[in-house]
Amino acid sequence: MKGRFGIHGGQYIPETLMNAVIKLEEAYQYYKNDESFCCKLDKLLKNYAGRPSLLYYAEKMTKDLGGAKIYLKREDLNHTGSHKINNVLGQVLLAKEMGKTRVIAETGAGQHGVATATAAALLGLKCEIFMGKEDTDRQALNVYRMELLGAKVNVVSSGTQTLKDAVNETLREWTKSVEDTHYVLGSVMGPHPFPTIVRDFQSVIGKEVKMQLLEQEGKLPDVVVACVGGGSNAIGIFYEFIKEDSVRLIGCEAAGLGVNSNKTAATVPTGTLGIFHGMKSYFCQDEFGQIAPVYSISAGLDYPGVGPEHAHLHDINRAQYVPVTDKEAVRAFEYLSRIEGIIPAIESAHAVAYACKLAPTMDKDKIMVINLSGRGDKDVAAIAKYQGVQIHG
């Protein structure tokens, strides 16, 4: 069925938006095979975003953990500091080809908002970003970055004031302005065709890993680890390896204070099947289908659902989804900073945390790739606060 991943996915959106997603799909189907479009995007990825990103052998970390050989896919080195730019350059370019003059986007940690504001500045489109009030507080630096880039940042004070509410508000704005505006959805979620478009634009990560690792090691990885909120960086690195049965795929969800607490955002262990934000997938919800307030230290993973393709990979046991708590993620944030001199985004630190548990159990000839989806500069103040350290500004 169109736009489905097993039973997941679909297009559960108001009628007002239906023609917009249909036109988007038509445009995407055309432009993804259009030589001039692909050439423009490739150029931007190379000359502007800085691709390919490095695949870095973390030698000290490998020795310290004493197991599998660890490689870091350095998406943190991309322009704007995360993997988000891969999808955004594709979508904003597509929006421009479609004749749209304005883009809107939700953001959690602010990385997707910053990337969208950046691409809009470069390609000359108006830009508005929606961000939950709680997130504008914990990611204040990114708010100012977006404004510097010429975007208008709308603070969302409805609901839980986090990523889910930012998506609600962006969807509402889109129903008002769908004629001239493209919604640059930031993750592999929402109504079809977004989960497919975002996955395709992010799949450059896994393609590069495969090539780089074949060059450096002459073989495929044994394990690929990535953090999962909606799941765009994870699907980006997984996709190339889904057909390679020998490669274990592990998605790390944000467990907040733990999956048995009511302060968690780990959808796979705590969620149930539902229909929300345009898609059928797993969601944290109560018995009457009310979406549950979720929690994580990481604004980017603080989302009550998971992308439909991940839900499917879970159903068919092709990928494994594991919960990682705030505490484990903060420890990994500090660990990677000290052992490799790389400060990871707190989102990516969830993947690092699980890798630290898994690597020592693996043989030394095994290879693990961690998707370091973003850099941690934005999180420094929040982590200091978490650790009770006062930073004077």
């Binding site: 559960y12 009628e15 007002t16 409805s158 889910k164 509402r172 008002k176 919800q285 009457f288 289908g289």
Partner: protein, 256 residues
Amino acid sequence: MGRIDDVFKNKKAFIPFITAGDPSLEITEQLIHAMTESGADLIELGIPFSDPVAEGPVIEKASLRALSAGVNTDKIFDMVERVREKNQIPMAFMSYANPIYSYGTERFMANCRKVGIDAIIVPDIPFEEKEELKPFCDQYGIVLISMIAPTSKERILKIVKEAEGFLYCVSSMGTTGVRNEIGSHIDEMISLVKQVKGIPCAVGFGVSSPAQAKALASLSDGVIVGSAIVKLIAEYKEDCIPHVKAYVRDMSRAII
């Protein structure tokens, strides 16, 4: 499907919307009776949802008030059952997909039939996904109301072909909420519909004044009003009944 067919028989229909459980289910029950007495032809009853993406701030807040007062789907069914003991006005539920789906779609429709709900309106189930609900609606005789919007254009044809009961015509872009100006394309939309078949068309989104209602009713078969009523409920809370009653009377008189 009898009760829905009667709504538009030889008259223009006035369709008020309220959120079930705002400010309490007792008040909702009284409001249904009061609106029936003052001339409502069909009542649209909203099942509150935590994240109502098609709503503007007025109805969103009503949803959150109802949920924080402890309202849930079972309690709403019980309330409707009590209403039906003395009131036969046609009633439709407005719900997002998730409260229906997670309740169990079949169980939901079976309960609708049991308590006497005639139709459902689900803003996040477009034509392409209606198989999610339709088989169960058919099984239990619940009318699934289709919606068209100003952006529907060529989609109107296929939507109308399969539409039942009446058509919910979204007057303007965006979410629900009071507007001063309502798009001028409504007559165009409705004439397209009527070329396909003679299904009644009720216009909603943004309607608040009797003058607006009168103008829209002259182009259509009925008018749906939500936010303007929900605003009165938010303002007067437990004392809202006479205010809503007077408003519904003025509106339903305006469209005759």
